[in-house]
Symmetry: C2
Subunit: 344 residues, 2 copies
C-alpha cells in the first residue's frame, strides 16, 4: 500500500569503480566501454555494457559534465508578476513551454524550467553563470527590454519570445505583432464596426506593436485614434476586472474589441454580457493567440493565430545557433486571423 523507504540514508550510488571491480577491469576500460570506444575489446565491452545495464548503472552526469566541461541543459524562464504572485497559468505561455519541451526532448537536450520575477529578468543570468544551463529561453520581455539587452551584452546565450525592438542586442522570436493587430482591427472595420476598443498593456513590447497595427488599420480606414478607447489591461485576467467593467460601462458606443489575449477577450465578453451587450451582435470581439480551445468558447473566438509549435522550434533553433557560436537573427513568425463567431 504505502511506499516504504529506508530511513535517512539512500544506499550508496553505484559508480564506475564498482562496475570495474565486478568486471575485473580498470575504470578506464569501463569508461571506454560505456562510451562505445573502439579501443576496447568487443567481448569486454559487451560484458561491461551488459553488467552496467543489469545493475541499472548510469554514468554520473555531474561528474562527466565537470570533466568534459560541457552541459546539455537549456533553461526556460517564465517571468511572473511578483506583486500579484501571479502563477504560471496563462494557457498560451504554458503551451509555448510545452512546445519548447517537445523540441528540446526531440533533440536530447535537458530542460530546466523556472519562474523569475518579471521585474528582475536579469536574475536569470545566474542560471548560466552557475553552470546550471548553457543557454536561456525567456518567455516574454515584459517591461525589461533593457535587462535583456544587458544580458546579451554580456554575451550570454539568450533567446527571447517577444517582439523585436529597436536597438535590440538579443535574439528574439515572436509573432508578427503589428500585422496581428492590424488584421484584427481591419476585420472589425470591414464588418462595419466604427468604435473599436483596444485591450492590452502597451508597456509590453508585444502589445505596443499590436497597438501600432491597430493604429495602422484605423488610419488606413480614415478613422481617428481615440485614446479613450484604449484600456491598459494586463495579459492575465486576474486583476483588471473592475477596471474593465468601468471601461465598458463608460463607453457604450464601443461596437468592436481588439483584445491582446484570448483570456482578455473572454473576460471582455463576460463583462459585456453583464452589461446587456450582446456578442457579436452589439459588440464584436477579437482575441489573440488562438489558443487550442478558442474554437470551443462561447461564442467561438475570432482570434489572431500564433504558431506555437513553430515558436518552440524556432526558439530552440536560434539558441542552438548562438551556442554554436553563430549569430542568431531575430525571427518573425507569420500570424493569421481565424474568423469565428465572436467577430464574424
Amino acid at each position: 500500500m504505502s511506499a516504504e523507504y529506508p530511513s535517512k540514508q539512500e544506499q550508496r550510488r553505484l559508480q564506475m569503480s564498482d562496475i570495474a571491480r565486478l568486471a575485473g577491469v580498470s575504470v578506464s576500460t569501463v569508461s571506454r566501454a560505456l562510451s562505445g570506444s573502439r579501443l576496447v575489446n568487443d567481448e569486454t565491452r559487451q560484458r561491461i555494457t551488459e553488467l552496467a545495464r543489469s545493475l541499472n548503472y548510469s554514468i554520473n552526469l555531474g561528474a562527466q559534465n565537470l570533466r568534459l566541461q560541457k552541459n546539455n541543459t537549456v533553461a526556460v524562464v517564465v517571468p511572473f508578476d511578483a506583486q500579484s504572485r501571479q502563477h504560471i497559468s496563462d494557457p498560451f505561455f504554458l503551451s509555448i513551454v510545452g512546445a519548447i519541451a517537445d523540441e528540446l526532448t526531440d533533440r536530447g537536450i535537458d530542460m530546466l524550467l523556472s519562474r523569475v520575477d518579471a521585474e528582475r529578468l536579469d536574475l536569470a543570468a545566474q542560471i548560466i553563470d552557475s553552470g546550471k544551463a548553457t543557454g536561456l529561453l525567456v518567455i516574454g520581455q515584459w517591461r525589461h527590454h533593457d535587462q535583456l539587452n544587458d544580458m546579451a551584452a554580456r554575451k550570454l546565450p539568450v533567446v527571447v519570445w517577444g517582439a523585436q525592438m529597436p536597438q535590440q542586442l538579443y535574439c528574439n522570436v515572436g509573432g508578427d505583432n503589428r500585422l496581428g493587430g492590424d488584421l484584427a482591427t481591419r476585420h472589425l472595420l470591414d464588418a462595419g464596426r466604427r468604435h473599436i476598443a483596444f485591450l492590452g498593456d502597451a508597456e509590453l513590447p508585444e502589445v505596443m506593436m499590436r497597438r501600432a497595427g491597430y493604429w495602422d488599420a484605423l488610419e488606413r480606414a480614415g478613422q481617428p485614434r481615440t485614446p479613450g478607447l484604449e484600456l491598459k489591461a494586463p495579459f492575465d485576467v486576474s486583476s483588471g476586472r473592475a477596471a474593465m467593467e468601468r471601461f465598458f460601462a463608460e463607453h457604450r458606443a464601443i461596437d468592436g474589441v481588439v483584445a491582446c489575449s484570448d483570456l482578455l477577450a473572454l473576460q471582455a465578453i463576460q463583462v459585456l454580457r453583464s452589461l446587456d451587450r450582446e456578442v457579436p451582435a452589439d459588440v464584436a470581439v477579437c482575441g489573440y493567440d488562438d489558443m487550442p480551445l478558442a474554437a470551443y468558447c462561447d461564442p467561438p473566438l475570432t482570434s489572431v493565430h500564433q504558431p506555437v509549435a513553430q515558436a518552440g522550434a524556432q526558439l530552440v533553433e536560434q539558441l542552438m545557433a548562438l551556442l554554436n557560436g553563430q549569430t542568431a537573427l531575430p525571427v518573425t513568425l507569420p500570424v493569421h486571423l481565424v474568423v469565428r463567431q465572436s467577430a464574424p
Copy 2:
C-alpha cells in the same frame, strides 16, 4: 544524441581561483567567504563577496554538487504516446506542470521537465540513476502501474499523479476518481437522464476508478450497466474522432454523457451537434478536470473539478518526504462537481 557546445568565442568561465587571485587570498578562503562561513575575517568576506558579485561570478554548481554529493533538482516527467507522437498539450497536464513549477520554485528547487514514452515509464529511472535529479514526479500512470511499482521497489524516490491501485508500492497523489465519476453520473441521473454514456479508456487507472464511480451511481439508482454505452476514448482528443461519431450515431438513445476529460466532453459536444443532437436539451454532457476555461466553453461545461494547485503542492510535499527518508502515504484530493450549462 548529446549536443556539444564548443565554446567558440565564449570567454573562459570565471572560477574560484580567479576570484582568489584577484582578491589576493586562497581558494579556500573564497569558498568560505561565499558560503558565509564565520571562519573568515568579516572585512575579507565583504571584499570577496563584493568582488564576486561585480564580476557576475557564481559558484559552479556542477562542481559543488559533485563535491557535496548533493543535488537540488527534481525531474517532472510527462508521459506521451510515442505512436501518435502526441505532444505535451492537454491543458490539464500542462496546468499540473505549471502548479508543480510554482511549488518547486517557491522551495528553491530546480525542475527538470521531460517527456517519456508512455509505454516505457521505467526509462525515467535513468534520470535518477544518472544523478540528473534526485527525485521524480510522474504525471499519470498510463498503462504501466507495473513499471512504476518496479521503480518503487528499487527505492527510487518517485511520486505519481494518478489513481491509487491495489498492491501499489509507490506513492501517488490523485483526485478522488471514484467519487468524481459518481458525482457526474448521479447528477445526470438526478436530472432524469436514463441512457448515460461513459467516455474514457478504462485501461488507465484513473479512468477505471471513474468508471467504478459511474457504476456505483447507476447501481444506486437501480439502473443497469450497459457495456455498449462505454466508449474507450483516449484522454487526448486527436485520434478518436471517427470512433466517437460512430458511437453516437449508433446509440441515439443516449441522453447523458460522462466524459473523462473536458477535452473529451468538448469533442463529444461537437460530434453530437453534427448529429443534430442538442446539448444539453437532448444530451447532457459532464466533463472532467474543470480546466480554467471550462466556464467559457460553449456551452459552459459542467465538470468535475480537480484541485490543480493542491495537486502540485502535494506531489512536491510527498516527494520531499521521501527524499527525507520518511514514508509517504498516498494522497487523495477532494473533487466536486461544478454545474454549468452543458448539464444543468
